[in-house]
Symmetry: C2
């Protein structure tokens, strides 16, 4: 267990309060001082939605600070490889990073709770937990042990279940299917008989087209269309049970954070929150356009996973989560907070947003 | 038709671009200049969720600007009555306002599209239209005729259908029911036989308890619990078809806007967007808590409107919208943009968020 039990001085549930608290005493905070930061990311430079959120964040900070804090964004591999983002910011090789917490499961089994877990919270529910349910405090407690301050800074909204070369008519059809699905979703799929592999995004199309894999999940219509996955498989499955509302993170090296005057700390915090909203809006608008194109121009067949598949996935998800937190007290603490909130918020979502959405389906 | 056909120089779909464009030439923009603004609002001071969003916005701007732009928030009636917010900011009696566009239907029939319309967009869908679907451009075009610059600055998420003293088992049970439901929702209800009245929020509880009215809608569990409506009626209906994702607005007097240097304009813009996310998070978290209290401690009976009621409401909603836009070319233009987007986004929401939410219901 690598988490160290240091509590950050940032234990507030709202950005508002969080911003003004961690001013390190004795550090120069002149309003004329200029800061030039590097932001390393887990995305290809300007990758639609994901990379563009990082750019939006950097631009927002630059504009609001009038150039006092400028941030240069590096795509994955430009400065450090995607999956070294966390370590690079932790040791100060870059002041800031943009990515997703579930990439750092090797650092702590609790990390995925701050992005998405199978059958977990949607984007809006997740923000409720982070900002008003204690989630952000737990996240900051965890990352403090790595010299990092995390922020919510993006969300794709609910993703899609994935592309399958052959239709899945029942649970039996999934046995032996070779699917690219990383993370906890992959562990769940493995439990119900799927052979899971991890393949970098750039190789997905060819792997699916040549039959090296039978299926893959990626993101949703907006990103999947850009990758051309519809040319390699026609069966497009929903829902995206594995990532119902994945949160992206901005991480800031704590020493760098402490050198910022309070107004620039506030700018970074609120810019992250604005980026979260902007990215959800982008996905809402771009997904609907891409879906039209996929269905109307490329003959993609939209299909729901059969009920027995969904039931098996959910049961397996519970097992995977239990195993995840089994040997780590902090992960258990995060799980307890998340689960208590999830069970209650599902009830309010059910009679509010969900009931409304379903009412649009009435004849 | 009061809208004047002046196109604002702010015709960008993203905040990012919008921020830097309207710098009036020749106006002093020193970074040492301090601005003290008044924000009038349509909410009681610090009213949970609504008034607190206005405070969050003002605080965000104050913190990020390091005190260069400070905003004093006035509750409804403190400086001007709630429904004079628009005019007060338009003529410069206050530099800024916080409210909701649908209160200004008397100024333009198009106004409600920028808050919520019956059977319209959810919060996430709405933000997609505003930021990436041309909605914000249309909104700015409309308000430019009133010397105002509007921003998205809050959303309650999907509301509830309302409180009824007697259960509604079919459409027939609604005939003659006396209900407080303002705006377009009220016009729709009227078409299906409900007698609608408008009563200020503060008098709702007594009116419902004494039987002056038989039913009322307000917001959702968080605000309704605070008002004690469950003590006057036990039948709590969903879904909130009349306000599926109402957007709140911040409005800025255009002359005041043009005196701000670019960095402060950016701070106002992004602070509004951050407030939108914060408010949705607050409602997600607080609604789930309040719902538990209502059901478990106060014996409130959650009920879905019967299908025949929902069908009649939807049909009547279409009629109300047609009448709304019938005699106003700009409203027709807004409607066309909104409707084209709505029909497509309903399809992507259906297979993404909605399908996921429904999968949580499987046994």
């Amino acid at each position: 267990m690598k988490r160290r039990d240091i509590v950050l001085g940032l234990g507030a549930t709202t950005l508002l309060t969080a911003c003004g608290q961690s001013q390190a005493p004795g550090i120069a905070t002149s309003k004329t001082q200029r800061f030039e930061w590097k932001m390393v990311t887990t995305w290809p430079k300007n990758f639609p939605g994901l990379g563009s959120a990082a750019e939006y964040l950097a631009n927002a900070i630059g504009e609001m600070s009038g150039g006092r804090l400028t941030i240069r964004v590096y795509g994955a591999g430009e400065r450090v490889p995607a999956l070294e983002t966390f370590d690079a910011v932790s040791r100060g090789a870059a002041e800031m990073g943009h990515g997703a917490a579930y990439y750092w499961k090797g650092k702590s089994p609790a990390a995925p709770f701050f992005t998405a877990i199978p059958f977990g919270l949607t984007a809006q529910e997740m923000n409720g937990w982070l900002y008003f349910g204690g989630g952000l405090e737990l996240w900051r407690e965890l990352y403090d042990g790595f010299n990092l301050v995390p922020f919510e800074a993006g969300n794709t909204g609910t993703q899609m279940g994935g592309w399958f070369r052959d239709p899945i008519n029942s649970l039996a059809d999934l046995k032996g299917v070779k699917m690219r699905i990383p993370g906890l979703g992959g562990e769940v799929m493995k439990k119900i008989g799927v052979t899971t592999v991890n393949i970098p995004g750039g190789e997905l199309f060819t792997a699916l087209q040549t039959g090296t894999i039978d299926a893959t999940e990626w993101v949703g219509p907006y990103n999947d269309l850009a990758f051309g996955l519809h040319k390699a498989a026609k069966n497009y499955y929903y829902p995206g049970w594995q990532e119902p509302g994945p949160t992206l993170e901005a991480i800031v090296n704590k020493d760098a954070w402490n050198t910022l005057p309070e107004d620039l700390q506030a700018i970074v915090s609120y810019a992250c929150q604005a980026t979260g909203s902007q990215m959800l809006a982008e996905y809402a608008a771009r997904n609907q356009q891409a879906l039209q194109t996929l269905v109307n121009e490329h003959g993609v067949k939209l299909q729901a996973f059969p009920d027995d598949v969904m039931a098996a996935l959910r049961e397996a998800s519970d097992e995977v989560l239990e195993e995840l937190i089994a040997n780590d007290a902090f992960s258990r603490k995060v799980y307890d907070s998340y689960e208590a909130y999830r069970m209650r918020v599902e009830q309010s979502t059910r009679i509010m947003e969900q009931a409304y959405l379903n009412s649009r389906e009435l004849p």
